[in-house]
């Protein structure tokens, strides 16, 4: 297991290197001069030159890259071009909202997909399977913002059960936090639920055709026990892969969902930065999200080792 961890960590190094090139490349790719943007409309050439100096834009690219990576490794993501606030501080403030939303969405996805996937796989070809498969396909096809707006329309505007927008921190009032987060979490989790249901259905139906399942049934093991104790753990391997991918999609999708429900998360920060063309903030959010996705994928790889001991030595 430790060997697996070490090998995976080593594999991450080249990927991190490429990620850092790509994100740093964003700055190089920016058309126009950020110093001119920053200096405003009636700036003198001297003022622009001064800002270029402050931002280190006149240094060689390799030096700029080294300075940037050096900072990132120490948790310094630079400062916003406009507010001057450290990017790392802004991210730290908004991270709990996005992570909370992503976690809750994942829970929603699992609560829907595990029963739905089991029902679809065990009733394969019959109507429960058809209904679950159709709903899963529809869930994948529905744009999250559309689903979110329909939920707001029904549960906030028509029924008045849940708030349409706003946010209350978990530590202030957990119940209010949950009330504000339910609709966003369903909105964001629906696509993940759909994808996971499809995956669980297909991997569980494969596993259920294996000889050892027939043996377990022949021994007289009860149907529920066959699924829970014999089939699910093996069927979980491809499902965990999909869940790992889902984390990236959830973090991306949260940008939209936060926008609809006015949640003060990383998505709002990213959108604001894109509109202002505040490159250090864009870079910071993207790097943070990429590293987060990599850490989750590392955890997924380790989970494989637990689910399937063959992988540990492979």
């Amino acid at each position: 297991m430790i060997l697996l961890l070490g090998r995976r960590l080593l594999l991450m190094v080249p990927i991190l290197l490429v990620v850092s090139f790509l994100v740093f490349g964003l700055v190089v790719a920016v058309p126009g001069d950020p110093a001119i943007t920053l200096a405003g409309d009636n700036a003198t050439p001297e003022r622009i030159a001064e800002i270029r100096g402050q931002l280190g834009l006149d240094d060689p690219l390799a030096q700029q890259y080294g300075r940037w990576v050096g900072g990132v490794v120490q948790g310094d993501l630079g400062a916003s071009l406009f507010s001057g606030r450290p990017v790392a501080t802004s991210i730290a403030e908004r991270m709990p909202v996005t992570i909370g939303l992503a976690t809750l969405s994942m829970i929603v996805a699992l609560l829907i997909s595990i029963p739905a996937g089991i029902i679809a796989a065990t009733k394969r070809g019959r109507w429960p399977d058809r209904v679950a498969t159709f709903l899963a396909s529809a869930g994948l096809a529905m744009p999250s913002f559309f689903l979110g707006l329909v939920l707001v329309l029904v549960f906030s505007l028509q029924l008045g059960w849940l708030p349409a927008t706003g946010y209350v921190p978990f530590e202030v009032d957990p119940v209010l936090w949950l009330k504000h987060m339910i609709l966003p979490a369903i909105t964001l989790g629906a696509a993940a639920a759909a994808e996971t249901t499809r995956q669980l259905r297909s991997s569980l139906s494969d596993v259920l055709q294996q000889d050892y399942i027939r043996t377990a049934r022949a021994k007289g093991t009860r149907a529920g026990s066959v699924i829970v104790h014999h089939a699910l753990k093996n069927a979980a391997v491809p499902v965990v892969t999909v869940l790992g991918f889902q984390v990236a999609f959830l973090l991306g999708g949260s940008v939209i969902v936060e926008q609809i429900f006015a949640l003060p998360g990383l998505g709002g920060l990213a959108i604001r930065a894109v509109i202002d063309r505040d490159i250090p903030v864009i870079q910071g959010v993207v790097v943070f999200a990429a590293v987060l996705v990599m850490v989750v994928n590392l955890a997924v790889d380790l989970l494989y080792g637990w689910l399937n001991p063959k992988i540990r030595t492979a």
């Binding site: 080249p14 990927i15 991190l16 490429v18 990620v19 790509l22 964003l26 790719a29 920016v30 058309p31 396909s137 529809a138 994948l140 096809a141 529905m142 744009p143 999250s144 913002f145 559309f146 707006l149 329909v150 707001v152 329309l153 505007l157 990236a248 999609f249 959830l250 973090l251 991306g252 999708g253 940008v255 939209i256 926008q259 609809i260 990213a270 959108i271 930065a273 894109v274 063309r277 490159i279 864009i282 870079q283 959010v285 993207v286 999200a289 990429a290 996705v293 990599m294 994928n297």
Partner: protein
């Protein structure tokens, strides 16, 4: 390529016999026979899937409607009528009017053009960026594969939508930049599908045979590998078109894609959601259009997957 389609039609033929014993004509003719029968088998299997055929029909109708938009749209999509804003469906305006009194049906017909063309552009770019490196990685393997795979891993470790937003953020909001971004985030999928298919195809006996008689590498790729990776690529294309349409809709919803007065379905929802309480149909109709279209691409992709390839357990479903 095992050709079970032709075998089924000639039941007396021994399955395990030396394939050359029945070989009479020149190799080229045999290739054509194989191509024709496998295409027929594909058509037969595809026709046996009512969902996939239905999805294809929906998409054909949508494309035709988008092409014919200037002829069939009841109103000018940009014509404003400030006396008649935010209407629900009426006999005059079948899908109602928006906040500037523009006819929603006409706008949706024109938006279909933007949404479909944008998705196609993004997927073409993804194919252009993904297939060649995928071929190289799968065929050459070794360090080329290692380098290309690490770059793919890196691109795939960005949350896709966030990467698209960052790219649009750097180059400025426009439909072209949004589609560039979507193309870039989909390229790794095509790369992986291509690489996987090439890795499988290069182990085939017929590729080994070609290699052993000294066929040049490029010729092997063009005549032996490419035809065998076309079907997974076509499946992936159909699925990617659906996802690209969702991505374009998301970016345009955020105001980072198509810019006014042009609109895509996503952009229409982005404008309409401020009026959700007054005129929910403004959000609902474009939303249904996106969902139906993406669903059709997904069902078509699944149908293609089940219609291609060799007979496997479950392919007859």
């Amino acid at each position: 390529m095992t050709d079970t389609g032709s075998l089924e039609q000639r039941p007396g033929r021994p399955l395990e016999a030396d394939p050359w014993s029945t070989f009479t004509g020149p190799a080229v003719a045999a290739d054509q026979v194989v191509a024709v029968t496998s295409f027929r088998r594909f058509l037969r299997r595809f026709a046996g899937q009512p969902m996939a055929v239905g999805a294809l029909a929906v998409l054909v109708v949508l494309v035709l409607a988008a092409i014919a938009a200037p002829r069939i749209a009841p109103f000018d999509p940009l014509a404003q009528d400030l006396q008649d804003t935010l209407q629900g469906p009426t006999s005059e305006h079948w899908l109602g009017t928006d906040e500037l009194g523009r006819d929603v049906l006409s706008r949706m017909l024109f938006a279909a053009r933007v949404s479909l063309v944008a998705a196609a552009q993004a997927v073409l770019l993804a194919i252009a960026l993904g297939v060649l490196p995928g071929l190289m990685a799968g065929f050459l393997r070794g360090w080329v594969d290692a380098v290309i795979s690490r770059i793919t891993d890196a691109v795939m470790s960005f949350p896709p939508l966030l990467l698209a937003i960052a790219i649009v953020g750097v180059f400025g909001p426009s439909l072209t930049n949004a589609m560039l971004a979507v193309g870039v985030i989909f390229a790794p999928r095509f790369l992986r599908v291509t690489r996987g298919a090439v890795l499988a195809a290069r182990e085939e006996t017929f590729v080994e045979a070609s290699r052993s008689i000294g066929t040049p590498v490029l010729r092997i790729i063009a005549t032996r590998i490419l035809p065998n990776i076309l079907s997974p690529l076509l499946v992936q294309t159909s699925l990617a078109l659906g996802f690209a349409m969702l991505a374009e809709a998301s970016l345009s919803f955020l105001g980072l894609g198509v810019q006014p007065p042009d609109a895509s379905w996503g952009a229409m929802i982005g404008r309409a959601y401020r009026f959700l309480a007054q005129t929910p149909t403004l959000v609902v109709f474009p939303g249904i259009a996106i969902a139906v279209c993406v669903l059709a691409f997904n069902i078509l992709g699944d149908g293609l997957r089940d219609s291609f390839g060799r007979d496997t357990r479950g392919a007859g479903r």
